[in-house]
Every structure is written in structure tokens, then in C-alpha cells.
Amino acid sequence: MTVTENIIPDTPAVEEKSERAGFWSTLFSSRMTVVCLCVIGIFAAIAAFAPWFAPYDPLKQNFLAMSKGPSAAHWFGTDRYGRDILSRTIYGARPSLALGVMAPVLAGIVGTVVGMLAGYFGGWIDRIVSRLCDVLMAFPSLLIGIMISAALGPGFTNLIVAIAFAFLPRFVRVARASTMSITAEPYIDAAVASGQSWMRILWKQILPNISGPLVVVATLWVATAIRIEASLSFLGLGTQPPAASWGNLIRDGLTEMLVSPWSVITAGFAVTLCVLAFNIVGDAVRDVLDPESRD
């Protein structure tokens, strides 16, 4: 699901870099990564300052200019209500990016707590948690997203919950495995012997040591979160019209594709570019923080 290699052959291998090279300097050593970080920066700026970037109100209907192709006034044309497609695409960046970040963060927080408890205590808690994770991992994330949002009903908050739930087992697994290996270290025995409570041990000793891999996992899932958001909105389960999101722009555009395909094309390219950039950056972060997992 995630991109596992950098696509540029002449990228300097991470292994050749000095161990002491900082995180950022290693990350910036690949031109491709820098370009993608810039793309993400531009998308983030567009989402944050959407009213300033958008030439029109995304909800304003103009019956004098319905289903028009690209022109000087409307760069990417208008939809069947005469709404400006560029403005709608710009506003559509907001739910996509917000969700792309929030779903992995929510999954990360809940998954870390559950995974740490399972890894630290072992026994029946661990067996139940692992079993449930196995079951959930057998499902594609999109399918879990569809199942949960079908049950919860459409809406932005429900969408975050649905996508976070789909990602949950990945975080639980990483947190559990890392917690187990840290728990075996002598300094945890020392902490237990010195009478520290388990909550304190988990919070003070274990969490700081497992946060690296969890950050990597979170970065890797941003791209997938954005893609699933688009899919669910496309299916009518996500952001609800008339609000713009990339998924429902494509859904809207589908019905008028014969007349004007511009809504589909503009929003589709926005999703693709955004997912591409997050995928490449996610891989780069993984390669820097966790070079061994590189294949």
C-alpha cells in the first residue's frame, strides 16, 4: 500500500551517510524529497489560506456561466451550477489534508496505548489484542473505512473515526512489538525494582523509546488516509455536499462528464499529486529514521 522505494536511482543511499548526519540534512539530501516537501507545503498553504487563494466563493452559484470549459475568468471551468471549479478544488484541500493528518494521529494515540498495554502486560490482554489485530489486518483499509462509515453515517468526524479505526491495528502492532523488546531491557527491571508504578514506567521509560517507529508509521499512512478520504467522499460516505472535497468533486463531476469533465480532472489530479508527495516524503522519513526496514 505504501511506496517502499525511492524512485530516483541516483539518490544517495542512506547507509553511505554519516551516522551523525542530522535528520533534516539527510532528509533534504534527496532532490525528489525536497520537491515533494515543497508540494506538501504548497498544498498546506492553499488549504490554510483557501479564501485568499480561491478566486471565487466555492459555493456561489452563477447561472450565467454553467458547465463552462476553462476560460480566463474560470481557469478550470465551472460546474453545472456555475460554481468555479478551481475555487472548489482549493477549498477541497481542507477536509483532505485535515483528515490526512488527523486520522493517523488519532490511530497513533489509541493504537500506542493499546499496543503498549498488550506488549507490557502480555498474557490474555495480549492474546486478545493480537487476535483482533490479525482479523482487522486481513481487511483492506478502504473496506474497513466503508464498513465503519456505513455504520456511523456520513460526516467529517465519523470519517476520521472510520479511517483511524482502519489504521489502528498497524499502530497497535508496532507499539506492541517495540514495547515487548524494551520491556526485556535491564533498565525496565531496575525501574520495576525501584518501585515505580506501571503507568509511570510506560509513560517515562517505554514511550520515549518507542516513539520513533510510531512516527514513521504515522507518516507512511498520511497518503493512504488522503486517498481513502477521497474514495469515501466519492462513495457518498465522507464530506457532504455542498461542501467541497476532492472526492465529492469527482462524484459531482461524474454526472456531467459528457458536458464538462473538468471537475473530475482537476480534483483527481489534486488528489493524485498530494498522495504522491506524501508517499515519497513518508518513504524518505522511514529511510532516515529506520534504515533497516528498507527493502
Binding site: 486481513a138 464498513m147 460516505l237 469527482i250
Partner: protein, 310 residues
């Protein structure tokens, strides 16, 4: 080992079925309100509960639910009154033919590209193949479907763009564009997986030995390397078949194709509660069946596991 796997699968089925049950009854609060909306009157809600068997205790509902699944009785649609099992059965072939066709297209395109990419690692063709594979990962399948529909269906007018067809030739014609969409996504997955698996195998000692013996390079790749490289490719297929299945939901929507996904989405849009439940259940069972099939296939292609299975 196989027996263990089957026991595991039964546990998984029970867990999944329970998950669907819980998701449908507990998460949305009152399913009657969820189905009828906030504006429903008390009488409407009461009659709905009566009709759907929601006024008995939860454990009783759960047992009913299990019995209905085992007997494949999903009840009738709240909107059209159609028998849901019959409806699903009529739609199932469309989803299956789409998924199978997509897998075949994905393999035919993806495996050779992956082999070429691994053998000529670092070359220009490798570079192109990897960029295409990356694009295949990032482009949402429904957007690719829309583009294919615009170009091949509307502009070039080569294939029918909506519906599923009735007799065999028209069904095949209707299958082309949707299957091409999912097949291209699948080809991106397959070529990547083949490439990295083959590169991994080519590093092994026995490949060096084979080369040292003077075996031709072609023989090394096709006889020694590819066979071993296909093991992770085939096990990876499990999750890809399921990805294709979940992708088929959006593709059916784009091409207005019949299928299990469109039953599910229609159910969701019309708040047809028994239909949503049945649709979700079918997809959940797909997941379980594919996982069992993958386990069996794994044993078939890896002789070491075959011995362990005895």
C-alpha cells in the same frame, strides 16, 4: 498446520460476523432512528423494530442473526421488498468477473514488467517502470476509472460505458473498461512486488552457484529465481484481491455496473438497513474466503510448507 489454519478461519469468521453485528446495532445508537431518520414518528419506529426483529433482547437478535447467516437468509429490502439473498446472488457474478479479469490483466502486465525492471535494475526501462508503478499507487482507482471512461468510452466511443450487459458477448464488452481500470492498478502492485521479490532472490547463494556452474542467465532467472520470487508475489495477492474487491465498489459506481458493491452503496444511500448489513457481510466473508484460499495456495507452491502440512 492446515487444520490449525481452518480453525483460525472459523474463529475469524465468527469474529467478523460479530463485528458486523456490533457495528450495525450498537455504534449508530438506535438502528430504527438511523434507518428512518430523526423525523420518524413513534409508531413508525415501533413498527420498524417489530419488522426487523429489533424489539427482542440483544443476545436473541445475535442468535437470529447467526442462524440467518448460516441459512443465507438476509431478509427483504425495506425499500423494494425484494429478497436480498436473491439480489446478492444475481449481482455476485458481476463483481467476481470484474475482480478476476482485473487480476488476470494485472498479472499479464505486471509480472513481465517487474521481471524486466529487476533484471535491468537501474536502467532506463527500470526507471520508467518504477515511475508508472508509483503513479499506479497514488492515483485513486475511481479517478483512473473516470479518465478511462472519458477517453475510451466518451471521446473514442470504443466500448459501452454503463451497465453490465446481458448475454455473454455484451457482458465481455461491458467488462473491458472497468477491468482495465482495476487491472492497471493491480499491474502497478504486481510489478513492484515482482521486482522487489526477484531482486531479493537474485542476491541468494544458490543463484551465484547456478551462475558459477555456467547456467545461462535466462535459465537462472526463469528456472531458479522467478519460481522462488513468486512465493511472496502470490501471498501478496491475497491482500491485492481484496484491494481489488473494495476498489470494485467505486468502479461499479462509475460505470453504473451491477455488483455487490452497488447493492451495498444503494443500501447505504437509501438507508436500507438489512441490505447494508447483507452487503457488508458478503464483503467480510470475501475477506475470510480469500485468506483461506491464499493459505492453501501458499502450501501448494512452497514444497517446504507442503511437507509441514502433512
Amino acid at each position: 498446520m492446515l487444520l490449525n489454519r481452518l480453525v483460525d478461519s472459523v474463529i475469524t469468521v465468527i469474529l467478523v460476523v460479530t463485528l458486523v453485528f456490533v457495528a450495525m446495532r450498537i455504534l449508530p445508537g438506535d438502528p430504527a432512528v438511523a434507518a428512518l431518520g430523526d423525523s420518524a414518528t413513534a409508531e413508525q419506529l415501533a413498527s420498524f423494530r417489530e419488522r426487523m426483529g429489533l424489539n427482542v433482547p440483544l443476545w436473541h437478535q445475535y442468535l437470529d442473526f447467526l442462524v440467518n447467516i448460516v441459512t443465507l437468509n438476509f431478509g427483504t429490502s425495506m425499500i423494494t421488498g425484494e429478497n436480498i439473498s436473491a439480489m446478492l446472488l444475481a449481482n455476485l457474478p458481476y463483481t467476481v468477473e470484474l475482480t478476476v479479469a482485473a487480476m488476470i490483466i494485472g498479472m499479464i502486465i505486471g509480472v513481465p514488467i517487474g521481471v524486466l525492471s529487476a533484471v535491468k535494475r537501474g536502467s532506463f526501462p527500470d526507471y520508467i517502470a518504477r515511475i508508472i508503478a508509483l503513479a499506479g499507487f497514488c492515483i485513486p482507482d475511481f479517478f483512473l476509472g473516470a479518465l478511462i471512461l472519458i477517453v475510451f468510452g466518451l471521446k473514442l466511443d470504443l466500448f459501452p460505458v454503463t451497465g453490465g450487459g446481458t448475454d455473454f458477448p455484451s457482458r465481455m464488452q461491458h467488462l473491458v473498461l472497468p477491468a482495465m481500470t482495476l487491472g492497471l492498478v493491480m499491474a502497478a502492485f504486481t510489478s513492484r512486488l515482482t521486482r522487489s521479490a526477484l531482486l531479493e532472490v537474485l542476491k541468494r547463494d544458490y543463484i551465484r552457484t547456478a551462475r558459477a556452474k555456467g547456467v545461462t542467465e535466462r535459465w537462472v532467472i526463469y528456472k531458479h529465481a522467478l519460481r522462488n520470487a513468486l512465493i511472496p508475489v502470490v501471498t501478496g495477492f491475497g491482500i491485492y484481491i481484496l484491494t481489488m474487491l473494495s476498489g470494485s465498489i467505486a468502479i461499479e459506481l462509475i460505470f453504473a455496473r451491477p455488483g455487490v458493491g452497488s447493492v451495498l452503496i444503494n443500501g447505504i444511500n437509501s438507508r436500507d438497513y438489512p441490505m447494508v448489513q447483507a452487503g457488508l457481510l458478503v464483503f467480510a466473508l470475501f475477506v475470510v474466503v480469500v485468506n483461506i484460499a491464499m493459505d492453501l495456495l501458499y502450501v501448494l507452491i512452497d514444497p517446504r510448507l507442503r511437507r509441514a502440512a502433512r
